[in-house]
């Protein structure tokens, strides 16, 4: 199998017909705008790539096109017909197939039956023998032929991803939407994937690829659309788009993008100032009170140790043999692309994912397999991905719940300190968590993590889906906390920011630590850029 794919189909798709068009579509979830007044067309005969950082609204877009998500406003047309109100099942029968980013096979059915579901819904009166032979054909193409009779539950993650694709193909779609099918694949598997996609271009009218793996995007798509904050940041030929500085800024760090004032900076305007940029002088001392600084004697014994930890979900192994040490006062950054295992690592530290092998130690004590609430009592706090604010609790209750074990007087002291850090939270203290904007929710999440006076806070993707201005403020706070001596582990997609803050960096690739070292060293390492944008070929 050749690593290098064939030439991309000719790029002049605009001359041809529009297969699917979404016009003025907005999708809100509560107060969060996932897709913001988006206009986008998928042309017949093209392979369109959708790229953009996590939380940009890419998966929501797939949901909107597939009918799983109904738009708040706007219309969706397929072949010129309005399908906005058409339910997902009927859209699938009209020829829209999709894969899920996290595979959702029918676990208690065989692989073959998984495909038959789609085949029979595409052509209900097909003969059984014909259906089975179609099935075999698709399974051969997707490399699953040997698994036809096995229950889908028994497939490991990567084969489940193939099954996702096989099932979508079994629908004989006009439009095939592939949501992050490349994530977590190794190079040779990516080559196979690219080859498969190329082989489909003749028989499927249009393909839409949502992807972080740049090789897939570069080799399969003639045209790219970049989403950021639910809006179209840029649209054009693949070469044009990838050469754009704005795109690099969106991926590698928002500092440069914001400074240049490109469309990225103006895309989202969360206007009101959310916290005072420069804190009062005595605040540093106040912060020091919520931060459990280590005594100098204990500074050398590691606070947290992961020894050869493997973990995953069911049969899907996400982390394999990760060893990592956090000493008191350190700020460790964990970088890596989607699916590399960053959040699983954070989940091992918070007790929601139990290691399948290896040990987790806190101050030398083996705490492998302990439930979350007991780990939290040992001084581990977490600022979770997606913020996970208790939307039905008031702002103050959200904060107090994390300081549950201390007397009210001390709770009040800590509240004052958190309110000092984020004055907006004090204003909203009695309002529900639901009423906060994304940035305010993230402040609340940080404040909540501080309330237990933890020995370590894991910050998991705190910049996700937030405007650069807000992320600047959040990171300013993190720098203050670090200066006050807080031990932290930062899981971050924004490489620049993480490198600025950390004093030691690990880069995860396919569940293993691929690269470790001081931030300056990592920053200049060519492998880093290669992992993210795949430019260093």
């Amino acid at each position: 199998m050749s690593i290098q794919g064939q030439a991309v189909p000719a790029g002049d798709a605009r001359a041809t017909d529009v297969l699917m068009r979404i016009s003025g579509v907005t999708k809100r979830y509560g107060g969060v705008v996932a897709i913001d007044n988006l206009d986008l067309s998928v042309y017949a005969g093209e392979t369109l790539g959708i790229i953009g950082p996590n939380g940009a609204g890419k998966s929501t877009l797939v949901g909107l096109l597939g009918g799983a998500v109904t738009p708040t406003t706007g219309t969706i047309h397929l072949d010129g017909r309005d399908v906005t109100a058409l339910p997902a099942a009927d859209r699938a029968r009209q020829g829209i197939g999709r894969t899920y980013q996290i595979p959702r096979p029918f676990p208690d059915m065989t692989v073959e039956e998984n495909l038959l579901v789609a085949i029979f819904s595409a052509s209900p009166s097909l003969r059984y023998s014909q259906a089975r032979s179609d099935c075999r054909g698709i399974l051969e193409r997707t490399g699953l032929a040997d698994a036809a009779g096995r229950p889908a539950r028994a497939l490991p993650l990567l084969r489940r991803k193939r099954l996702e694709m096989a099932r979508a193909l079994a629908l004989r779609p006009k439009l095939l939407m592939l949501d992050e099918v490349g994530a977590g694949l190794i190079d040779s598997e990516i080559s196979e994937l690219i080859e498969l996609i190329h082989s489909l271009t003749g028989e499927i009218k249009s393909i839409l690829i949502v992807e972080h793996v740049m090789r897939v995007v570069k080799e399969c798509c003639a045209r790219l659309a970049v989403l950021n904050f639910g809006r179209l940041l840029l649209e054009g030929t693949t070469a044009q788009v990838l050469a754009s500085d704005d795109v690099a800024a969106v991926y590698l760090g928002t500092k440069h993008g914001a400074a240049k004032g490109g469309p990225a900076a103006q895309a989202k305007t969360e206007v009101a100032p959310l916290s005072q940029p420069d804190p009062p002088k005595d605040q540093a001392r106040a912060i020091a009170q919520v931060v459990a600084t280590a005594s100098s004697a204990a500074a050398d014994t590691p606070l947290v140790e992961l020894r050869d930890v493997s973990a995953g979900y069911g049969l899907a192994r996400v982390l394999s043999g990760v060893t990592l040490t956090i000493k008191p006062g350190q700020a460790i950054a964990v970088l890596g692309t989607n699916g590399a295992g960053k959040t699983t690592l954070a989940n091992v530290l918070n007790g929601t994912v139990k290691p399948t092998a290896g040990q987790l130690l806190i101050s030398g004590q083996d705490v492998t397999g302990w439930p979350s609430h007991r780990l939290s009592k040992l001084g581990l706090a977490q600022c979770m991905e997606g913020r996970r604010i208790f939307v039905e609790l008031s702002v103050e209750e959200n904060l107090r719940i994390a300081a549950r074990d201390v007397p009210v007087a001390i709770q009040r002291e800590r509240l004052d300190i958190v309110y000092g850090l984020f004055p907006i939270l004090a204003e909203r203290r009695h309002g529900p968590g639901m009423a906060l904007s994304g940035g305010q929710q993230q402040m609340l999440a940080i404040g909540r993590a501080l309330m237990s006076r933890p020995r370590l806070i894991v910050f998991d993707e705190i910049s996700l889906g937030l405007a650069p201005l807000i992320v600047d403020q959040l990171y300013a706070t993190l720098h203050e906390l670090r200066a006050a001596g807080l031990t932290m582990l930062i899981v971050e997609q924004d490489v620049d920011r993480a490198l600025d803050l950390a004093d030691h960096v690990h880069v995860l690739e396919q569940g293993r630590i691929a690269l470790s070292g001081a931030p300056q060293k990592i920053r200049s390492d060519p492998r880093l850029r290669h992992l993210y944008v795949g430019e260093a070929d």
């Binding site: 997902a88 676990p107 039956e113 029979f120 059984y128 009779g149 099932r167 079994a170």
Partner: protein, 319 residues
């Protein structure tokens, strides 16, 4: 198709054993055999819904009751033809299922169970209070019911029909869509499965079969009243049969029905203790053997096979 051959052989063998053995053992055997056949039909129908469709119903009584009442009504007032009456029972229950489906399918999972429970209770209360159908005292069959042997043969025919219907259903494209909905309704919709229709099909077929079982029971008793005919006991039996036998397992209903009938005979003198023990068995099986006795047997078989061939290749391509 040759994949059918083992099933047909297996079914035929079961049919011969189940039908012939009781016939040769006299009145008691026929009585037990009749109940066994009835319970297998109930279990098969309930298993189609819950095991294949994830539709855990506690409304078995509504179908059973409708079946019995329609049968008696047909025989007393419309036509003495038993096949016609049984068909009418099935159709009536299927129509009822279709009518209530918008209510019980609206929210997934839990509300189906509670909704069907409410349906059974509502019908029971209605029948008790509504005097046109005999009210609380119920109805009598005007003509004599068939002899025990005749009844048994009817039950055997119904059993055979039910087995055929369920066998075809569970091997057809309908069952593939049904199981897809059970496993992940949203993902199924994304590949074109219209979940509502798929669930409705299983619900109506199962309701019709349960109604025929109820009709036979009505025929057997000769007199029906709302407390028993629409009683919760039918649901308890159906649930126990399938959970003990194995949800979603083709042989589940047969195995479960044998256990339930045997238990009922053993504890016939202690009715309350019997039902309480039913409940206890239910709890234990759910906790420790979620795939039921057939599931346990399968696991034990695989374990034996694996032990016999220590270096067997990883399970998978054999099927």
């Amino acid at each position: 198709m040759n994949t059918w051959r083992p099933t047909i052989l297996w079914m035929a063998a079961a049919l011969v054993v189940i039908v012939l053995v009781p016939l040769s053992t006299g009145e008691y055997g026929i009585e037990i055999g009749f109940r066994l056949l009835l319970y297998i039909v109930l279990g098969e129908a309930w298993n189609l819904m819950a095991g294949y469709g994830g539709l855990v119903s506690l409304g078995t009584a509504s179908s059973v009751g409708i079946g019995a009442y329609v049968l008696v009504g047909m025989l007393n007032h419309i036509s003495p033809s038993l096949p016609l009456a049984l068909t009418a029972s099935a159709v009536a229950a299927a129509i009822l299922a279709a009518i209530v489906s918008p209510a019980v399918f609206r929210l997934r999972g839990l509300y189906f169970t509670v909704g069907t429970l409410a349906l059974g209770e509502a019908l029971r209360l209605f029948m008790i209070n509504f005097n046109y159908f005999g009210g609380a005292t119920g109805l009598f069959l005007r003509d004599d019911p068939p002899s025990p042997t005749g009844l048994y043969i009817y039950a055997a025919v119904v059993f055979a029909l039910a087995t055929i219907v369920i066998s075809i259903y569970t091997r057809s494209r309908l069952s593939i869509a049904l199981r897809a909905v059970r496993d992940d309704e949203a993902a199924a919709a994304q590949i074109g499965v219209r979940a509502f229709r798929v669930k409705l099909a299983a619900f109506t077929v199962a309701s019709a079969l349960m109604a025929v079982a109820g009709a036979l029971q009505g025929l057997h008793l000769g007199t029906i009243e709302p407390y028993g005919t629409f009683g919760l006991q039918w649901s308890i039996d159906a649930v126990t049969i399938v959970v003990v036998g194995g949800m979603g397992q083709r042989a589940g209903a047969i195995v479960g029905a044998i256990v339930v009938v045997a238990l009922a005979e053993l504890l016939a003198d202690y009715p309350e203790l019997h039902v309480a023990i039913n409940g206890l068995i239910l709890i234990i099986v759910i906790r420790f053997a979620p795939a039921g006795l057939t599931g346990l047997a399968k696991r034990w078989w695989q374990y034996r096979k694996a032990a016999a061939t220590p270096f067997a290749p990883a399970a998978g391509n054999a099927s």
